[in-house]
Amino acid sequence: MVAQTRRDEQSSATEARRRARIKEARGDRVFAIVNTTILVLLTMSVLYPLLYVVSASFSSADAVMAGKVFIFPVDFTLEGYKAVFDYPRIWVGFTNSLFYAVVGTTVNVIMTLIAAYPLSRRDLFGRTAFLSLFLFTMLFSGGLIPSYLLVSQLGLMNTRWALIFPQSLSVWNLLITIAFFRTSIPPEMLEAAQLDGASDFQHFFRIVLPLSSSIIAVIGLFYAVSHWNQFFSALLYLGRAELHPLQLVLREILVQNRVDMAMLGDIREMARRQGVVELLKFSSIVVASVPVLLAYPFVQRHFVKGIMLGAVKG
């Protein structure tokens, strides 16, 4: 029956579309062309700055300095990437950022899941109160100075944990996860599990978690990206250079224009070094952004779903 009506609906829809196509006025065809053109132009203008940076990173220093690069690499060379490899600060930053992203995201995902599960249970006594406690922090905070003083009182200053503990949980991701548990885990499963004598732990670990891989992918991506990209907390809490994440190193290179040229190993002549420093800016942007940009198309399907969940709830 259901299949039958669905097929009917489908055929009526296709028929409507066919009729629409016959009727489709010239105005609509013009509209489609204009619409597509605008979208193409818009997409190209979003893409262009990224393309320019990638092309410049593969061009020779002379071509970049002379402003010859527009769309494609000029005088193709890997010199820029050689400079990245030769500049130890970038690799220190890269491995540090990897550490913050992996450890931080693990802590984040665990904290979010163990908070979201009880808060998604309608039979939790005091649920509204707990939820309000979390929600209020989205509206109000003590501000920068008290948080800074707390981190220093806890003795976290100049330790890696300063980038992990203060951001162990994001309330926004918590809300998305709660919405996921509410909408995607059928409540009958809880009843059935309880009838079978399962405890809350068993329901959470054996039934809910195995069904949650898509939400774990979504919040994992959001958390990992925010760890990889974080700059402010590192600026605040980390003075020691060997703890710096990649973003702090990039700030020196890209924004402050501060590159220790002596570190650029075997390259002798000053003029050439200056060119290499310019190239380094482009290649370090690529090296820093590629991990994130590679990861995101794989989870894109999931995160659109995740945002929709958040939007439905939020």
Binding site: A13, A16, R19, A20, K23, A25, D28, F31, A32, T36, L39, L42, T43, S45, V46, L47, Y48, P49, Y52, A56, V64, G67, F70, M111, A115, P118, D123, L124, F125, L133, T137, L139, F140, G142, G143, I145, P146, L149, L150, F165, L169, L190, E191, Q194, L195, G197, D200, N229, F231, F232, Q247, I253, V255, F282, I285, S289, L293, I307, M308, A311
Partner: protein, 332 residues
Amino acid sequence: MVVREEHTGVTETTLPAAAPAKSAAPSRKFAYAWKRVRRGWQLYLLLALPLAWLFTFCYYPMYGAQIAFRRFLPGDTLWNAPWVGLAQFERFFQSHMFWTVIRNTVTISLYQLIVGFPFPIFLALSLNQVRRRWFSQSVQLITYAPYFISTVVIVGILIQILDMRRGPLNMALGLFGVGPIHFLAKPELFPSVYVWSGVWQNMGFNSVIYLAALTTIDPELHEAAVMDGASRLRRIWHIDVPGIMPVVITLLILNMGGILSIGFEKAFLLQNPLNLTTAEVISTYVYKVGIEGGFTNYSYAAAIGLLNSLVGLVMIVLARSISKALTGYDLW
């Protein structure tokens, strides 16, 4: 105290039976509540760590914000610094930077609201008209991408694109005979650089929520309109736009609530001595006064930060009641 079996073989079905206890005496009400708490002890155990984190890293700093009402000096511990009432706030109101940072913050956020807000809506409406899936998916893939790039890298790219001598934007302007413009050194251009680069970075990602809202519109409305011979533009105007209006209004009001909160990172990274007159916003000023200025200024910086948080809270609560009155939709 002897009965311990509650937390092993619990069934949900026993709950409704206990419901009449609501109307019973307070002691029985309490007993009922206690029973529910005991039954869910594993849930509370899971929640314990996140709650401990919440109190330490979110609520304790709110308590610590009281240093805004003290005068913290070298040699003091935080809790024995003398109370000074609202003196730190008065100092800010009388400071020559007060109007500068407020004006800069409000200018940038209003500009951002007016320019940045409509773009994702247009993008979503336009994408929704595309029939070929591969096309709309590639547009989405590309326009979402900048959202995932770090602020430091975004600013680094901006510096390169806007470069005076070899940046592509100035080269392109040169073709039209417009002399090279030092975008980052002109205070009057700072808000534009900030806002338009934000459009570039966030337009795609912010359109997701409108696309989601568009999928909830009943397709029969469109079919009926097609039968009546409505053109595509008319259908967008009379079906799609009204369909996403509640979401638009809600987000617009929420954004207006955040008008005093310009994030730290991008403003800070785009600042230089030449554009500082328009680039100094509240969050960067707090950082410079409090952290770079050293601990004699903690109280003063905390006062500015607290004021900012309080105004933000008031704005968002106001925004919520306006939104509730206008759309009938409660934000929380």
